[in-house]
């Protein structure tokens, strides 16, 4: 019944509100470390196969649109900036700014996902989706080329899934913020949501050069 006030109040296992917040933040970081290991496996698979088939990986990488990739990276960095501004707004107790920055972050995240959907659709039209209709031009190594695109879809797909979950978290934060649940004394969910959003940004910071840029100098 008192679930709303209970989240804001100091729970009995903690001495101080600061200790409670530290515990929440630490818990989120531990979760993010498991996420790093989760994505780490895919990054390792990418590194191993890129080392085994460097030429075909460069060729396949060069079919991706660098301009779209770079612009989308900038969009995601903008969303990280608006997210950190949302956390800042909650720290100084500006409900209005918090709501605005959360909406902006959601919009920018939506733009990123929209561009990603456009890129994936392009892959289907170009027959660059692994499967029976797959065909990459200018190479006989079709199997190895499919490895690149399998990793491309697995990594960008998993990243996009995290973005979708992030949008859900932002929506939750937005509704709570709109209802005035967050104050400078209690804004831990905003802080933790921010950590998640920035983590997803960091994953993309590595995906962009590895997927889009790695073969550019052979172009």
């Amino acid at each position: 019944m008192a679930s709303h006030t209970e989240t804001a109040a100091l729970r009995e296992q903690f001495e101080t509100a600061g200790q409670q917040k530290e515990a929440s933040t630490l818990g989120m970081w531990i979760f993010l470390v498991t996420e790093i290991m989760f994505f780490g496996g895919l990054f390792l698979a990418y590194m191993v196969y890129r080392r085994l088939f460097p030429e075909v990986f460069s060729l396949a990488s060069n079919t991706l649109n660098v301009v779209i990739g770079a612009v989308n990276t900038a969009v995601l960095l903008c969303s990280s900036f608006t997210m950190v501004m949302a956390v800042h707004a909650s720290q100084i107790g500006s409900r209005r700014a918090l709501v605005v920055f959360l909406i902006l972050t959601m919009l920018l995240g939506g733009v990123f996902l929209g561009v990603k959907a456009y890129e994936w659709n392009e892959k289907f039209e170009e027959h660059h989706v692994p499967g029976p209709t797959f065909h990459l031009e200018k190479t006989a190594m079709q199997g190895q080329a499919q490895l690149f695109f399998s990793l491309y879809f697995a990594m960008t797909g998993l990243h996009a899934l995290h973005m979708v979950i992030g949008e859900g978290l932002l929506l939750f934060l937005l509704l709570q913020a709109y209802a005035g649940k967050y104050t400078p004394d209690y804004y831990t969910p905003v802080d933790i949501g921010g950590l998640y959003w920035h983590f997803v940004d960091i994953i993309w910071i590595f995906l962009f050069p590895l997927l889009y840029l790695i073969g550019r100098h052979h172009h």
């Binding site: 590194m47 085994l52 990280s80 962009f208």
Partner: protein
């Protein structure tokens, strides 16, 4: 509780730096540096990661315990990457009978 609140100016600087590094990595990728292309791309990505983690994720104001957890995570990621790649890179260095 009294938390450290960063100035908005700091966030703007970091944001501009991140955009600049994105442009830099995109441009440098077009120049042929041989094997160094990957090294430069990863170096820039690591700098961007540190900017996001230290400033946007407030890691520089975090308690030591949080920093230890993050460094521990990176250490295990390093073990995964370095040991696995050491295997794949060195596999063909010595002839193995029956391979």
């Amino acid at each position: 509780m009294h938390e450290h609140i960063d100035a908005v100016k700091t966030y703007v600087f970091v944001f501009v730096a991140l955009l600049g590094l994105t442009a830099l990595t995109t441009i440098v990728a077009e120049i042929d540096l041989g094997a160094f292309n990957v090294a430069v791309a990863l170096l820039i990505a690591v700098i961007k990661m540190l900017l996001v983690a230290l400033f946007f994720m407030h890691l520089r104001h975090s308690p030591v315990l949080t920093k230890v957890v993050v460094c521990g995570g990176m250490l295990w990621l390093g073990i995964l990457m370095v040991l696995s790649m050491a295997d794949f890179i060195s596999r063909n260095w010595l002839p193995v009978p029956g391979k």
